[in-house]
């Protein structure tokens, strides 16, 4: 931590993200994981818009936003130029390339570009802020939204508690590409996140970091609770911390301790209680849904432990 405190800020203060937003916390940590010069590509979303309100930019490093679904393709282009110039002997310094996107720009509209960039083997890291909805456009559901969550396109109502479907397991989809490095992380465990980001930067090929990103506005919690909520996501095993490094699956941080029986796994009701978007799941009417979600989380957690051979 002390070492990290000496690093210059690549993302400055003065951005327009909500007070207590997890995204800048995540980005600050990720960018501390390398000292090499970087270029950043950003998908359209809260983070991109809030850090680039003309004429203000919160970026002290080269940065590009082109469209919503193509952060991975855009950074592929930057990285391709770097490779081309290196081959021609015009580029001597080592650089690193990173793309940021929300779950919207990654799981859904951005899936194609991300898959393509990974398959082509570009040397870049893609960091997804998973705040489980299309937040920038007004909290609409995404394929990352948890079942039962209330969003503006699957609101809780008389006939429905919220989203009907379980979230897509994006990290596993990316791992299925046989990507050199993929991991799930959380901003509360900064050491785990920074270590993973550092690995991603140095893996020498595509890397994917999926980070849980609590949203005070969309998840309906106090802005001061953001880091605590990200910790709860891990403690309930709803968002386990793990990595896939050159074919080896490994649990990390609190998830590792929970699997080893050294830390208690918290129930999903704690997760629901902490956020207004799940309030309806605590009522009698939707108890079954809450139970089914718990069963689903448990099943996925079992399965992950098998992958990690715990």
């Amino acid at each position: 931590m002390k070492e990290l405190s000496h690093k210059p800020a690549k993302l400055t203060e003065g951005h327009r993200l909500c007070a207590g937003c997890a995204e800048p916390i995540i980005v600050r940590q990720v960018l501390m994981a390398t000292d090499k010069p970087i270029v950043v590509a950003n998908a359209t979303g809260c983070f991109e818009v809030s850090t680039s309100v003309y004429p203000f930019t919160a970026w002290d490093v080269p940065w590009i936003h082109s469209a919503f679904e193509n952060a991975a393709a855009t950074i592929s282009g930057v990285e391709s130029t770097y490779r081309a110039l290196q081959r021609k002997g015009k580029m001597k310094q080592e650089m690193r390339f990173i793309a940021f996107g929300g779950d919207g720009g990654t799981y859904d509209i951005g899936l194609q570009a991300l898959s393509g960039a990974i398959e082509r083997g570009h040397n870049f890291m893609y960091v997804c802020f998973n705040n489980e909805a299309y937040m920038n456009t007004g909290i609409q559901r995404s394929s990352a939204t948890m079942r039962g969550a209330s969003t503006t396109t699957c609101p809780t109502g008389l006939c429905s508690p919220g989203k009907k479907e379980y979230p897509k397991d994006m990290t596993k989809i990316i791992i299925a590409h046989d990507i050199p490095y993929a991991a799930q992380a959380s901003p509360h465990n900064w050491k785990d996140l920074v270590d993973k980001a550092a690995k991603g930067f140095e893996i020498g090929g595509p890397a994917f970091l999926n980070v849980i990103s609590p949203c005070p506005r969309g998840w309906r919690h106090e802005s001061a609770q953001t880091v605590e909520i990200s910790k709860l996501a891990v403690e309930t095993c709803m968002w386990p911390l793990y990595e896939f490094e050159r074919g080896t699956w490994r649990l990390t941080g609190e998830s590792k301790r929970i699997a080893e029986g050294k830390k208690e796994k918290r129930p999903m009701t704690d997760w629901f209680k902490a956020q207004g978007r799940f309030r309806q799941l605590l009522t009698d009417k939707w108890t079954t849904v809450a139970q089914e979600i718990q069963a689903n989380v448990d099943k996925k957690w079992e399965s992950l432990q098998n992958f990690c051979k715990v």
Binding site: I64, S76, S80, L85
Partner: protein, 387 residues
């Protein structure tokens, strides 16, 4: 000493790319552009180019990779057609707004549906508002020449806009022609070194590309593009003149044929312009005072030049190989608008033709002239469709 080789339009473009050796080429195959990417792939595999060649998973990503690459400081090229152009539609606007000098070949093909792989101009016409310079080539030689000139136009400091070079799908892209190819060193000298502006890879001067504009700034950014398009005219003419000096082939924004003393003019872009000249010759042999006008530059639209040629004519038929449903072909209103303030305006009519590759021959074009001269043309006519 120019080499004489038989090539089709697609191969010619790939050959031009080979000679220019762009830093990055990112493309996705689509009929009838596939030969461009395939031929270029062979050059890559044989080590004839140092290009970083990216086979993207879609056209939208192809243009996105080009945008990232160009912004990072690479000379960048790509090619597409039809649905591919449609798929990258939002990226066309973004590439132009970021003032990235990307060069793209478009092998003009009809848009679905129903799906049709043959030639019409609906694809590039659909993208005419995006802010790209658009040039139409008549044959494979032009496809080659336009590609080489395109880099100079795009990269000129007064322009800095992406350039689309269009060639007729199948008709030009796939037909073999005798080509005059410039020597490698002449092409390299003509395009020169690429000078990026504030490239992303320059970390000493970090730039933020693609910000969020409030209403307070967007219009000014767009007006910059408006002025860049206006400034493109003299640049295109300058580049064409320079090209004539190295190749012996002169090009112009529009190319009149036997138009000076003609009473009736028919206009077209693409390969039809060639057929048009043959018809003009045949009718002239019969004593008819006709001429043709080949449209090479569509964006920016050479309104002044067109007005000068068409001033005082009795009748003009604009041939459009695309249609804006509910209105007319796309070139027609622009020509009419160009003529509106002229003291003596000809009768101007539209002939929508050739959609989905419907063939247009000498006899069809003779019908156009005949109707035009007899005053039998409607305002908007459809040539060659079974009505």
């Amino acid at each position: 000493m120019q080499k004489l080789l038989a090539m089709n339009g697609d191969q010619a473009i790939a050959y031009a790319w080979k000679q220019i050796d762009p830093d990055v080429v990112a493309a996705y195959p689509i009929t009838p552009q596939t030969i461009i990417v395939e031929a270029f792939s062979e050059y890559v595999a044989d080590g004839h180019v140092t290009t970083e060649y990216v086979c993207t998973e879609s056209e939208h990503s192809a243009m996105s990779v080009c945008v990232g690459a160009s912004a990072a400081g690479a000379r960048t090229a790509t090619a597409t057609a039809s649905a591919g152009l449609a798929f990258m539609w939002e990226m066309l606007y973004i590439a132009a707004s970021m003032r990235l000098p990307i060069v793209m070949a478009v092998a003009n093909r009809a848009l679905s549906g129903p799906i049709n792989i043959h030639c019409d101009h609906s694809d590039s016409m659909g993208g005419r508002d995006a802010g790209w310079v658009q040039v139409y080539g008549e044959n494979a030689q032009e496809a080659y020449d336009n590609t080489i000139m395109a880099f100079r136009i795009a990269e000129h400091l007064n322009v800095r806009l992406p350039v689309m070079t269009c060639l007729d799908g199948f008709i030009t892209s796939h037909s073999l022609e005798n080509m005059s190819l410039l020597p490698d060193d002449v092409v390299k000298k003509f395009v020169g070194d690429f000078k990026p502006i504030r490239p992303l890879l320059d970390v000493s001067e970090p730039t933020s590309y693609g910000p969020f504009d409030s209403p307070e700034y967007y219009f000014e950014h767009k007006y910059q593009q408006v002025r860049a398009m206006e400034d493109a005219f003299p640049v295109i003419e300058e580049v064409q003149k320079e090209f004539a000096e190295i190749s012996g082939r002169s090009y112009d924004l529009i190319e009149p044929y036997r138009a000076d003393d003609a009473d009736y003019i028919v206009m077209a872009a693409g390969s039809t312009a060639g057929t048009l000249r043959q018809v003009v010759d045949e009718l002239r042999a019969e004593g008819k005072k006709v001429g043709s006008l080949k449209l090479r530059l569509f964006r920016p639209f050479p309104a002044k030049e067109i007005a000068k040629i068409l001033e005082g004519k009795k009748g003009v038929a604009v041939m459009d190989r695309a249609i804006s449903f509910g209105a007319s072909g796309p070139t027609f209103p622009e020509v009419r608008s160009a003529m509106f303030d002229s003291p003596s305006k000809p009768n101007i009519v539209d002939y929508v033709y050739g959609l989905g590759g419907r063939d247009v021959g000498v006899d069809d074009i003779k019908v156009v002239f005949s109707q035009l001269m007899k005053g039998e043309s409607k305002t908007i006519n459809y040539l060659g469709v079974r009505i």
